[in-house]
């Protein structure tokens, strides 16, 4: 539901990242990393991105979304595993002291500009 706000931030950060010396820049690709635990729906984000980039250097750019799995680590026994079904309890020792080490990402990694 907040994908429009996220898309606006992506566009702002991407536009700010275009080197100043490039004349009439055209961004072809925007590479994002989004964790599965961050409540972002990739298709909604793509739709919002398409709508708000019209008439900007990002118009027509492809939004590549690398979806990061939710990886947890047990604070008690050190076990690391990928969480698929929203159960945050250690598979090895049943401890509830679990930290999420990946899966919350909401990052813009890079942009690709036409030569």
């Amino acid at each position: 539901m907040h994908e429009m706000g996220i898309a606006m931030q992506v566009v702002k950060i991407a536009a700010d990242s275009i080197p100043e010396h490039i004349q009439n820049p055209r961004v072809e690709q925007v590479n994002l990393k989004i964790g599965k635990l961050s409540s972002v729906v990739p298709d909604s984000l793509r739709f919002c991105f398409e709508v708000i980039t019209k008439g900007t250097p990002l118009e027509g750019a492809v939004l590549n979304i690398d979806v990061a799995p939710v990886v947890a680590r047990c604070r008690d026994c050190g076990m690391e595993w990928t969480i698929e079904d929203a159960v945050f309890r250690c598979k090895e020792c049943n401890s509830g002291s679990v930290e999420v080490i990946s899966g919350r990402e909401l990052d813009i990694i890079s942009i690709e500009i036409a030569d």
Binding site: H2, I13, A14, L37, S39, D85, A86, V98, I109, I113
Partner: protein
């Protein structure tokens, strides 16, 4: 040509949240972010909470809604200073962002508050993503909702520090499975404190108030 960016998409919000947090800490006010689906009974819970803990604990409330000032009007009767944020009259934002909270906080004399409660916009998805500079988060779930909501919205239930299961006075009329609901909450967030209560009848209110007032007291003594 590839240009490295390597930034968090929400870094602007995070920066505002950090500023809020410093400001709240300097004033010694404890900030609670309350979140839930629409209609879970947050406002009623807050009304009852304020009546019980004031004036011993000096409270202020920021209420977020897409539209109307109804909730703020209800809460203002407690005597607590209340600021309403409307994100937009027709649609609007689905969450309160940190800069919005920072602006709303200007309306309060923070130095003379112990507790600032933010009643976030009713939504179990978006508010979980936006840090507002709070000290703690509570999610309110009512027994008229599905027991499996925690498994459907794991991000919200992971992020929060306590959960309220509200409207327990309705249990005789519902098929709600309390043990299953608690099981789903603890599956997503083991050991999270859960308070079963009815804000309407005030049954079960005390453990919730104890938790909240303990948090505020610890914040005060940490100064």
């Amino acid at each position: 040509m590839e240009v490295d960016v390597a930034r968090k998409i929400l870094d602007t919000n995070d920066a505002h949240a950090g500023q809020n947090r410093e400001r709240f800490a300097a004033a010694g006010v404890f900030v609670l972010n309350m979140m839930s689906s629409p209609g879970s009974g947050k406002t009623t819970l807050l009304e009852k909470t304020l009546v019980r803990i004031m004036p011993k604990i000096r409270c202020g409330v920021i209420v977020g809604d897409i539209c109307t000032t109804n909730d703020a009007d209800r809460l203002a009767r407690s005597g607590a200073p209340v600021t309403q944020i409307n994100t937009d009259a027709f649609g609007g934002d689905c969450h309160l962002a940190a800069h919005v909270i920072g602006k709303a906080a200007d309306a309060f004399d923070l130095e003379n508050l112990d507790l600032l409660i933010v009643e976030n916009i009713g939504n179990l998805v978006c508010p979980a993503e936006f840090d507002i500079g709070e000290n703690a988060r509570t999610v309110v779930l009512s027994v008229t909702e599905g027991e499996d909501k925690p498994a459907k919205y794991p991000h919200m239930f992971r992020k929060c520090d306590s959960a309220v299961l509200n409207k327990t006075d309705l249990l005789p009329y519902l098929d709600f499975d309390m043990a299953a609901a608690e099981g789903f909450i603890h599956q997503v967030h083991p050991d999270m404190p859960i308070f079963q209560l009815s804000a309407k009848t005030e049954e079960g209110l005390s453990p919730w108030l104890n938790w909240l007032t303990t948090q505020v007291a610890e914040n005060r003594s940490a100064r």
